[in-house]
Amino acid sequence: MKIVPGTGSPVHPDISALIPWYVNGRIGERERRRVDAHLAQCAHCRDELTREQWVYRSMTAETAVEYMPAVSLNRLQARLDGIETGEAADAAAAAKPRRLSMPWQGLMAASVAVIAVALSFLAGDRWLQNRARAAAPPDYHTVTISEPRAPGEAIRAVFSPTITLSELQSILDEAQLRIVSGPTEAGVYSLAAKSRRPVSSSLALLRSHAQVRFAESTTSAPIGPLATP
């Protein structure tokens, strides 16, 4: 923004105020023509326009970090489920005192509750028998083999929870990698190569960063020791 020396004000404030929307292409046709006509004769405002165009280009530059909405959406769905369950429970609780207002209804409810408890004991016993017969499902999941591979995926990695987006982007740029999916519920990102750099080299670079908790190739056998936090 060109400033009049000593005043702190733009040389042509009316035109200056229009420049942001001239730059982002969202200016009205009449105003655009006005700015065009002014720029043709004002070097100060042309300088200002050039600077503003640079800021605009810098702010619209693409980033390597892509968000995968699936996990976030699952969390939102879980929140909505929780609200709906809560609302249903509230509605049931609100309706309950009215239904139990007569003594015989209370007795009937007590009988139903006794039957329900007896049935739950029976069902629980049956469930325990079945459970003993069935193999217990693992209460863990792996980050290297259980998930299907994302297209182009070469590496799976877990980053420190304290990593910032700019740190993440900087690491990915340095290792010439891009995110193709993730993070999963376990915080695992699938990464693909952005260049011809060997996967082993990118992997070594990832492992050298303190912010990388885990990094493993998914295209071949493990290479070297795992990174430590």
Partner: protein, 204 residues
């Protein structure tokens, strides 16, 4: 050539109108309680909102939290929306206010960095990366409303009137925020105050 441009413009306008209509249909369905419509709306806006929010909040957890809080409000308030503005303006307005609240909470938890933290004139004015870093620092120094106004205009590509609707402010307030944001950026980026030719050479 001229015909191609006109045809391309017409296609863009048609695509935008079609997207607006689809947004409206989806919001009507959301208001009627359709979780599937909410999901489609969420997936349609996630990328745009995530990119916008990631520029003003550094952690993915915050980005996700703001987006999900936004769509919780969309879910709960869709039936009250009167369609006086575009659905996209309404949703981005909710995200804007949610982000502002979140940023204010974060600011209370962490000391704001001051301009004094910046290295003094260690920048190589010919190095584009360093200049980008200065811009990033400069943007981080702006008051939140000014930063968000600049982001809405430059990163999201909104018009003055759309920003006024999103931020629920008079047009004059948006103009003033934009003016102050640009003026402060100019002061934060002293080495960038060169001539137009330098900028052209640097920025292309």
């Amino acid at each position: 050539m001229g015909k191609d441009l006109a045809s391309s413009c017409r296609s863009t306008v048609l695509a935008k109108n079609s997207a607006k209509e689809r947004d409206t249909e989806l919001l009507v369905a959301v208001a009627a309680g359709s979780r599937r419509a909410l999901e489609e709306l969420y997936l349609g806006y996630h990328r745009r909102l995530a990119r916008f929010l990631s520029r003003i909040t550094p952690r993915y957890e915050n980005v996700e939290e703001i987006i999900n809080d936004t769509f919780m409000i969309v879910w709960q308030s869709a039936k009250d929306f009167r369609y006086a503005s575009q659905v996209s303006t309404w949703i981005i307005g909710i995200a804007y206010r949610t982000a502002l609240k979140s940023l204010r909470r974060q600011k209370n938890h962490s000391a704001a960095r001051s301009l004094d933290d910046l290295p003094e004139q260690t920048i190589d004015p010919t190095g584009d990366t360093e200049v980008q870093d200065w811009l990033k620092h400069g943007l981080n120094q702006l008051p939140m409303e000014q930063r968000l106004t600049l982001e809405l205009a430059y990163h999201m590509g909104h018009s003055l009137e759309e920003i006024a609707a999103i931020t629920e402010c008079p047009v004059g307030t948006v103009k003033a925020r934009m003016f102050h944001a640009r003026e402060k950026l100019r002061m934060y980026l002293p080495t960038l105050g060169g001539t137009g030719s330098e900028w052209t050479a640097r920025g292309g």
